[in-house]
Symmetry: C2
Subunit: 261 residues, 2 copies
């Protein structure tokens, strides 16, 4: 039995590629940066690259491959985005059609892969400072909400920002802001705290994605730009084809969390 | 006579558009962010956007327009990149063919404009802290050098990083690093200090661009990634058409220097 918590990002990718890890990547290869994946044909890739460039908080780009090249040469030389994620979601015209563990048979020579920073990076840093992550202590998914904050549109891509929420005391929220400021490439500082209505959230107990968590007396909701945003925006644009990671089944890079500071 | 030093970026653009300012933009609309310009057809724009994304220190993107749209909607709503720079350089297959003050007659519906952060932003911050800028006190251009540091290539674009150099004492270099760390979108911290040979510079008295400046006893050369890098890289790729600002004749945005922090 391999201790998957204390291996490198590369070792975890090797396990994934060999079919020996097909589940979520929470808590594996601790300290290595994990990434969201979105693959689009070059025709849409320029607009999407522009969308990410204009919306760095929800879409912090870690690496973008050359058209047709499945190797993320910056963050994971030698890796292959067609085989090295535990599970994929394949969308045609915005509709989920399958969830394979390998996309080599689908891959086209004009495809571009986008690897986008993920909240695990700043959550690890918050945990190390003993700040609360309620969704972990309540053993569920982080609550996520659609807001009335419009992303900067780019070509065919537009839509509202999706945020994740973690309840904290005001003092903890201030400390969390200070810590997350170090990780601009993993969503960075919160984008809002306090009144949910101020960003268009009607009912904090009813997240649009993930699960509701307890907000204790003396705590306020703290909101971060969320990596679900680019996925929601791509789905809304309904491109002929798009491949993403299956939620929670992320790509492991060779970078350590500290490399993103 | 209008005091061009204390007007807004927008007011300066209005003067430029009206043909009332056709010279360099050093010292005008002080406190407003100035930008380098590069225009490419959409065919090359994806590769160039990727190049900038992979090389943020020499190529810090401030704004990228939609194909065919001459308005930089993020940094200067209402502006027009075809008329609002004092002078342009038009290159065909890498060769300079003219230096017009207006490019409306050249503009094509697939052209994309890139506005890239500029050293003026951090130089203003350094000046406010009384750090030395030798090229200003010696009334010449900043010295720039080709290095042996390879940029991360992207598609057709590749080449060495070009750096600018400012002599400082070690204590000043440390303070400058601290200040420039605030301006990641204007080249950020230095990339090297001390021995020029360590980054492939053979003779510090012979810059590849700009002018040599005095390095006083007790001073070391301090090197920053330079906005000439993307221009050098584009020229090397010899695209059929490319338009840039004429050196020193920058685009004035609506953003204040502090907005880049």
């Amino acid at each position: 039995m391999i201790d998957q918590q204390h291996i490198t990002g590369r070792a975890l990718r090797d396990l994934v590629r060999a079919g020996k890890h097909t589940t979520i990547t929470a808590g594996v290869a601790m300290g290595y940066v994990q990434a969201n994946l979105a693959i689009l044909p070059r025709e849409q890739a320029f607009d999407f690259l522009l969308f990410c460039q204009r919306n760095p908080k929800p879409c912090p780009l870690l690496d973008v491959t050359e058209a047709g090249d499945p190797e993320p040469r910056l963050c994971a030389p030698g890796a292959d985005v067609r085989t090295d994620l535990p599970r994929y979601c394949v969308y045609r015209h915005g509709e989920l059609i399958c969830e394979p563990t390998d996309i080599r048979d689908l891959w086209q020579k004009d495809w571009v892969a986008f690897l986008i920073g993920c909240s695990y990076t700043f959550e690890n840093a918050l945990m190390q400072e003993s700040l609360p992550l309620r969704h972990l202590s309540e053993n569920c998914n982080v609550p996520m909400y659609r807001t009335n904050i419009a992303c900067q549109p780019a070509g065919i891509f537009h839509g509202p920002m999706v945020v994740s929420m973690r309840p904290m005391t005001p003092a903890q929220a201030i400390r969390a802001t200070q810590i997350c400021a170090r990780f601009a490439r993993a969503h960075g500082t919160p984008i809002h705290l306090g009144d949910p209505a101020a960003i268009g959230i009607r009912d904090i107990t009813k997240p649009d994605f993930g699960d509701a968590v307890t907000i204790r007396p003396g705590e306020i909701p703290v909101f971060w730009a969320c990596g679900v945003t680019p996925q929601a925006v791509v789905m809304q644009a309904k491109p002929a084809i798009c491949v993403t990671h299956k939620p929670g089944h992320m790509f492991l890079t060779d970078w350590k969390d500290a490399d993103l500071e």
